[in-house]
Assembly symmetry: C4
């Protein structure tokens, strides 16, 4: 599949992906990362190491990237209301989702084409996820097979699904069977990206999927279009959700819900969870920040299924705020890709560990000792 | 007509308009434009190709250009509320205005003196409008005759009218007859510009209409002033609207309404449509953004006549928002002029096509399949 | 009087005031000013021509200059609500204040030490005020005598009063008699500056009044301090107002009222007018913008006496907004000083004329033909 | 104690602290400071003179330093509502706290490790505090003994307490006895810092406490961690407060209260005062600005104990606003450290005097003559 028209610029840049030297970072050693103390530090380090086209693919969003900005700003506007003089010697950050236990409420979101960032792609990410003990959601646009990814890690794996355009049910059923056989323990169905949006920065960088990459769960290489002439990314409809529900007993989460009315429909369709997401600001600009859309969705869901959220999380205080406003857990995307670029598996695990430790600090400094104590009263 | 006093600087710059080389762009070939993927890209490309005075004339606004900024900002502040899992394979963007069918709700607004931007002026714009199948509203300050413009295109043409100072009724009647004979299908009467505003950037650039330009529908070349000593641009009064209504059966739209009370008067005066406009921020600074003025006007009009809106539209999401807040269609001005500068007719059509495609993406990604489905619920 | 401690830097800078070349500008010819089309243009031009210490004295404010910023921003936030299709051929901007007729509602505010800006000081300003036909309020910190100022102009003169520390009643009575004899037609009593504020930029520039300057209406040269140790600028109390009321029949305005309760007291004290002012942001930082303080004061006064306003007016739309929110007229300070620096008397008159013409444009483009038609409905 | 992991960079920087030349500033002469007229001037001067690691330690905050920004911004958003024509010749800024009389409501907040800033550390600060007659709150992380500090000054001393991790009651009791014997007249118990926060700038600068420093009231040098794995700074619990109350009759203030519910608990625990503080933005980012948290705390406390506030105070108007919103007095931290860096004891006293004089100006220019007259009506 070609994600955008490739001009001369794109053709020139492509070899750079393969030729790109990644010296220190890919030794996977902790020393090279010792000066990186926040998630934003990893972005700066990654930017220096990534090929321009790869960085542009990862960092960019739709349109004028207003939603990307809001995803951060809206977290930064929320004020915390601490309790003091609480004994915070012991903190419990563990949770259970669909019968799976996690040490902390941070997952790795599905992100596409990780071989752009690291020669080992999703396999290397899985190694880092294993070290950090974080659930890793593999993307439909994975450049590695689930079996290889699963072999590299002990961490739980989930899988993200796009509904492709043609013969989708048969293909999707095969994919679901394969990933389940490889240990996948939940499915995230992306619902916010039937078509590609205005990915201007990608187009300017001449982005296209390098020919040498396999995308076994996203086989179409032609720039298919809808009847309306729009480039397909991968849409489902409510009917397809019902069908998917009927062919698998894996937990199904819908990823990309912002509207409480869609959350209600999702529950009626029998899904097991909801991910409040705006696709990292990559599909439609001026969608609201996810942290601002979360409260109304969580209120509508009212605990019937777990609600997760992604988008813009860079600080432990963001995790705290997301949980305070109704999320059971959060997913991070770009940050761990920057970890992958800066230090391979070690970079991935460091990113998760920094965020986890900041989250614990935020709990301690607001006087909350368990996830259950993180409620609306945390927000001032 | 002299739009402002010309100092030494202006005289120096004028020859540059004729001498200005416009190499690649004016071959009218698509390749030169292939890197331009958003409307803002066209502005950047145009700025490099345009004579300073021409660019300043097009880009500038009144006073401190606060209204120009608001025209953009107020769109950017509006958040979208999407619906997901809708089947958006097929989208219908067609509409009908005054019995005229359009494929999509985007028109080319009247803009003055297009020979400043391209040697062929309005004729070249009409060619591009024809390719894109967009209605083109020709300005009273056109540098080409309607007959020539009409010959260059199959697209519907409308005409914009200023009420000139002297002998206006006779002259206006002649103009209306001529443009109607050339195929004009609607009249836009500009109501927000009886006098010129504080066009500081134009004055600093020494702007005046080059002597070699004909302006057949705006013959006065002298800087006429009102009794109050203000430079006339071209005012009407409610009486003149009534008179115009009596002498033509063409649809009449009033362009420049921001106040709902004026919208009510317009309907009582028997006009066929209203264009919410602040003249692109060119006349009076700190007028509100049009997208913020639109809802109250649309509510007052309550569907009795179609309401259109211009000003600040640069993204498909802006079109979606304008329709959601009550507009039947939108007009773009500066963006297609930048297309004209960057690539002649091809540039004009590309600008329209990019905006149209972004609009379709915005429909698909908010789950709206027809214009009728674009209502207030789109805004979050 | 020393307005602030003078360090080594100040001593170095002082000769620059005298030595400063003011070539083109002080020929008083219009050509040198032809490129200056807005009040901000005059500030830029003046800054280049003024000695640093003089510019710092004029431009600077108290503290972090937040009030200076608000004085502008709060105008820029107000949106206009126009009426269209009104016949604006004829506009009437005339008014009457205390029996004095003016062509337009713009006065020249009292500003100190004009010889810093022009060798002729207040006399040159008076010439420009005469050309523009604007009332000029001479400051207590004038460097010229009222008789000399009056001889240079036909424009009405007012006088601003500080209450000095010692023997104030006798001295003030003498000053009032002298200025009245020279044609002064109203007194503005400054009430917001009993002491100097934190004039950091002045202090950093080593500002002090040059020894060669006479300040006949502000004779103290020693840095007198209050019992609380604060540098005196010149305070009155309500008792002093009562006394002044008893010794002159000139109209008395209190300048520096922001609190409606003080406006009420002022009326009870028998004053003839109120000037809403924050001393141009020069005395106390984070006082509110005058345009934001105006409505509550005007509402409390309820037409019993005229309310004027100064601070931050740079555009004709600002004048319109001030009148819409309850002011009978406005005063400008720094802008005409920049005119004085850039072009002597001609610069002063050009500044007034630009603002007056912009005000007329703003009336025409909002459809208001007289000052009486400028009411709250102008603000959107 | 190591406050953060020291990498190679830190080791390199450490010698710079000792070697750092502090020529003019540490002569303690007033001339070197004559150009510094505001507290921000002292920061600029200090930054030039301080070792990078020391400056980073002092200036930095937690996370993205949003709280540090809010601490300033929220003061700057508050508008003053002045009264005019009041006789402000005499002002009374005196107050009494816990039976101790002060000339003005400004104290020196506890700040750590002052030998980083000046060779004499807290002893030099105490000299400056004595000159300015300001109460000085010595930190648990003092690098000098209370006896030495007390000998250097006549100013009242308070002491700040951290609850350390092991054997805390015995050690704390000893500390309390020692500081009381040295003249300490009140205890401030820090309640908002059980663990260190995300001090990224400190970590990037490789900060650690130089080995040559003694910290007699904070003996642990090992980076102790909580059971949850977080670096301990020094937590108390409500039980510890009750114990402390039982072993000393010194006034106890809790420092770090932002939540009115904690203020209520504090009063029930028998404390004598509350300091609204967010630890200068150093512990948890996106805690609210203290001036914005103050009103609700003051309202809950309702005068039962005095409420103080620190954080972001840089101007006399800030002191006025804090008192208007319910504080009895304010504390400044970084500003006097910058004074210490720029000019030793003289710098400390100058910083206090500038702020005190600005506070008096603010009183005079709002027409308030005593602290009692500074109430909510000062805020517009």
């Amino acid at each position: 599949m070609v994600l955008s028209t490739v001009g001369a610029l794109g053709a020139t840049l492509l070899p750079a992906v393969a030729a790109q030297p990644r010296p220190a970072a890919h030794k996977g050693k902790a020393e090279a990362l010792s000066g990186l103390v926040s998630l934003d530090d990893f972005e700066r380090a990654a930017r220096e190491r990534m090929a321009t086209m790869a960085y542009e693919f990862v960092a960019s969003g739709a349109g004028d990237e207003i939603t990307i900005r809001w995803n951060r700003e809206d977290y930064n506007k929320l004020k915390l209301r601490p309790r003091v003089l609480v004994d915070v010697e012991v903190l419990d950050t563990s949770l259970e989702l669909f019968g799976q236990k996690s040490d902390f409420p941070i997952l790795l979101a599905p992100t596409a084409l990780q071989r752009l960032t690291h020669p080992e792609g999703e396999v290397e990410t899985a190694r880092g996820a294993g070290v950090a003990n974080a659930t890793f959601v593999v993307s439909s646009l994975s450049t590695r097979r689930m079996a290889d990814i699963a072999r590299a890690t002990t961490t739980p794996l989930w899988f993200q699904l796009y509904g492709l355009n043609k013969e989708r049910h048969g293909f999707v059923r095969d994919v679901v069977q394969e990933v389940k056989a490889s240990g996948c323990r939940a499915l995230c169905v992306t619902v916010d990206a039937p078509v590609l949006g205005a990915r201007n920065r990608q187009a300017r960088a001449g982005f296209r999927i390098p020919d040498v990459f396999e995308t076994p769960y996203y086989p179409e290489r032609v720039g298919a279009k809808t009847a309306a002439g729009l480039p397909i990314l991968g849409g489902f409809t409510w009917k397809d959700v019902a069908w998917l529900r009927s062919v698998t007993n894996l937990p199904i989460l819908l990823k990309g819900i912002l509207n409480p009315e869609d959350a209600e429909l999702a529950i009626r369709a029998g899904v097991d969870g909801i991910i409040v997401s705006n696709h990292g600001g990559r599909c439609l600009d001026t969608l609201p920040a996810t942290i601002s859309a979360l409260p109304a969705v969580a209120e509508k869901v009212a605990g019937r299924v777990p609600v997760l959220v992604d988008g813009g999380i860079r600080r432990g205080t963001d995790v705290l705020k997301a949980l305070a406003l109704g999320a059971k857990a959060v997913l991070i995307g770009r940050p761990y890709i920057y970890g992958l670029a800066a230090g391979g598996a070690t970079g991935v695990s460091r990113v998760v560990e920094i965020l986890r430790d900041e989250f614990k600090m935020a709990m301690a400094l607001t006087g909350r000792r368990t996830l259950a104590e993180i409620d609306r009263s945390v927000i001032g």
